[in-house]
């Protein structure tokens, strides 16, 4: 059997496989070094970072919902400087491809954080979080406006040669139009989806389950919507798409890729099973062998819409 090629390229970032750990779901990566060899992942996306340290929201910060979970962590984080001094050297040692998820409350903060990270050694790409639904100042005002998206991405584009990957919100009428704005602004790829703005109520106490009242819905519940958005964006832009939302096994990875994603991120599933990574790789390998596919990239956008799948084949 010929060697199986699962590689993905996003600008200067070359990954051996399309499996990335999603931001906010994998700490700073190092938390997981005991359970998975970080170098075997396509990439590790850090928790969202502002310029300064942040404490985040009070508990309760998560709540489980049917096939999903709400979170309103509020971007607790160590800030970009401590990240560079404390985490980056260790991530380099472990040969992790490190994508930093960056946040800002102002355009200037985004640019500043991007600039600082571009000067640091060991950052492989920047994911621009303009889509966190949980904090008012978390860039969502950029992510929900086409002009805002365009201006953040083009401002960051000017100060870095790193791959720039804006992460889009699903909480808009047409994510594809945001994909277009991002591509026009010079993005190397787009990530989607961030979480869906949602809430849950404890009816006995008549209070919200989250201290922040609303939070972001992730997990398999959202997968069918996320896949649809990836598919729509695939028709709209040419740049790579990093798809995510509820991936729980290798079939879900393939679903996103066939819909049009070049790479994927796994978030919530990692909580359920931190040993998922090897299983995903095995599943992809098996699929490629069974279907005699040597380049996984050939599957990207390969959906055949001429007829539906046979239900009872």
């Amino acid at each position: 059997m010929t060697a199986l090629d699962m590689s993905v390229r996003i600008g200067s970032l070359v990954m051996p496989n399309p499996l990335m750990a999603a931001s906010g779901c994998f700490g700073y990566g190092l938390e997981y070094e005991d359970v998975v060899d970080l170098s075997t992942l396509g990439g590790v996306v850090s928790k969202g970072l502002f310029l300064a340290e942040r404490q985040g929201h009070k508990p309760e910060r998560i709540a489980e919902t049917p096939s999903g979970m709400l979170n309103a962590i509020g971007l607790q984080g160590i800030g970009v400087h401590r990240f560079i001094s404390e985490k980056l050297p260790l991530l380099r040692e472990r040969k992790a491809r490190t994508i930093v998820n960056i946040c800002g409350t102002t355009l200037d903060e985004y640019v500043e954080v991007a600039r600082i990270l571009s000067d640091a050694e060991g950052v492989d790409a920047l994911e621009i979080n303009i889509s966190c639904p949980n904090i008012k100042e978390g860039g969502i005002q950029f992510g929900c406006s086409l002009d805002g998206t365009f201006s953040v991405v083009s401002a960051i584009r000017k100060v870095t040669t790193l791959p720039v990957i804006p992460k889009l919100t699903p909480n808009v009428t047409s994510p594809a139009s945001f994909a277009r704005a991002a591509e026009d602004a010079g993005a190397d790829a787009i990530s989607l989806v961030n979480t869906f703005l949602a809430m849950a109520i404890d009816v006995e106490q008549r209070k919200p389950k989250l201290s922040n009242v609303v939070g972001g819905l992730s997990g398999p519940a959202i997968r069918p919507i996320a896949v649809r958005m990836v598919w729509e964006c695939r028709q709209e832009v040419k740049i790579p798409i990093v798809g995510m939302g509820g991936i729980m096994d290798h079939r879900d990875v393939l679903e996103f890729m066939i819909a049009g994603a070049n790479a994927v991120q796994v978030g919530t599933a990692n909580f359920v099973d931190p040993f998922i990574w090897a299983k995903l790789l095995d599943g992809l390998t098996d699929y490629m062998q069974r279907h005699q596919i040597t380049r996984l990239a050939d599957l990207v956008g390969a959906l055949d819409t001429t007829s539906p799948a046979k239900a009872h084949a």
């Binding site: 906010g24 779901c25 994998f26 700490g27 938390e31 997981y32 005991d34 359970v35 928790k47 404490q55 985040g56 508990p59 309760e60 910060r61 998560i62 709540a63 489980e64 049917p66 096939s67 999903g68 979970m69 979170n71 962590i73 607790q76 997990g219 398999p220 519940a221 729980m248 919530t268 990692n270 909580f271 359920v272 099973d273 931190p274 040993f275």
Partner: protein, 270 residues
């Protein structure tokens, strides 16, 4: 030691009452690594509803006659969905068990150990008591429950040589009232600071009261905190506890990796 994930089989499920049960599962790989105070993350289905695992203290590490670890048990109290499912499990059912996780209790820094348990907070003390007894540390268990029926495993602790001080809210056994009552009495009787190490597990108001009493009487305390946990490995930041740091600042610490056991003097009680 890195945790392991085992699809374990239920060996037995002993229902102690309408809400409490002891679930024994064949997860020797986990048991062999577990230190007192550590926990596991359990799931009763591989479907996505319910989806997330739930944290449980390792109650017993069960060995065969040759001392080889064969199983672990969990002292479970029904509180919601997963604890309800765990209550209903039968021998042969699968359970997904990830662990051991978290920081264990530290050995006592003083001559005696007092364990303070409220309700299901008894869970981490079976293994801790065994370890303390093996270290020949004189050990007392202050144990409070609502009623006499809900005081479990007394014989187990008795057999180990642990001194039992019991309380019930209705006075059905031991002293009537909260467990902090007799604890304070005993603290008053101590000759000075740093004579006992206090270990506590139970509802948060109890932990806060114990930590304050320990501080007032100059004894070190370790509290095992209960938080909603999404991952158990430091990935999600759901489980934070506000902790006063050496620099005087209060910061949120992830209790799954910076706990669940905390120095009672550093926790900022809300």
């Amino acid at each position: 030691m890195p945790p392991v994930d085992v699809r374990a089989t239920v060996i037995s499920n002993v229902r102690l009452s309408r809400d409490y049960n002891v679930l024994t599962i064949a997860a020797p790989e986990v048991g062999a690594l577990t230190e007192p105070g550590q926990f596991v993350m359990l799931k009763t289905t591989d479907a996505s509803d319910p989806m997330l695992r739930r944290p449980f203290s390792v109650f017993e590490v069960l060995r065969d006659d040759l001392g080889t670890v064969r199983a672990i048990s969990i002292l479970n109290k029904r509180a919601g969905r997963t604890t309800g499912l765990i209550y209903g499990l039968e021998a042969g059912d699968p359970v997904w068990c990830l662990g051991p996780l978290g920081l264990p209790f530290n050995p006592p820094s003083s001559g005696a150990a007092w364990m303070v348990a409220g309700g299901v907070g008894l869970a981490p003390f079976a293994t801790l008591a065994e370890a303390l007894v093996a270290l020949q540390v004189p050990t007392t268990l202050f144990y409070g429950a609502r009623t006499a029926d809900e005081l479990y495993y007394l014989e187990f602790f008795d057999r180990l040589g642990v001194t039992l001080v019991l309380t019930t809210e209705d006075g059905g056994a031991g002293v009537q009232g909260r467990v902090t009552g007799p604890l304070e009495e005993s603290l008053k009787g101590l000759g000075g600071p740093n004579l006992v190490t206090i270990y506590a597990c139970g509802p948060e108001p109890m932990l806060a009261a114990v930590a304050r009493l320990a501080e007032r009487y100059g004894q070190p305390s370790e509290v095992s905190m209960e938080r909603t946990m999404g991952c158990g490995l430091g990935g999600c930041y759901s489980c934070v506890v506000p902790v006063k740091h050496a620099d005087g600042e209060t910061r949120y610490v992830r209790s799954c990796i910076g706990g669940p056991v905390f120095d009672g003097a550093t926790v900022v009680w809300e």
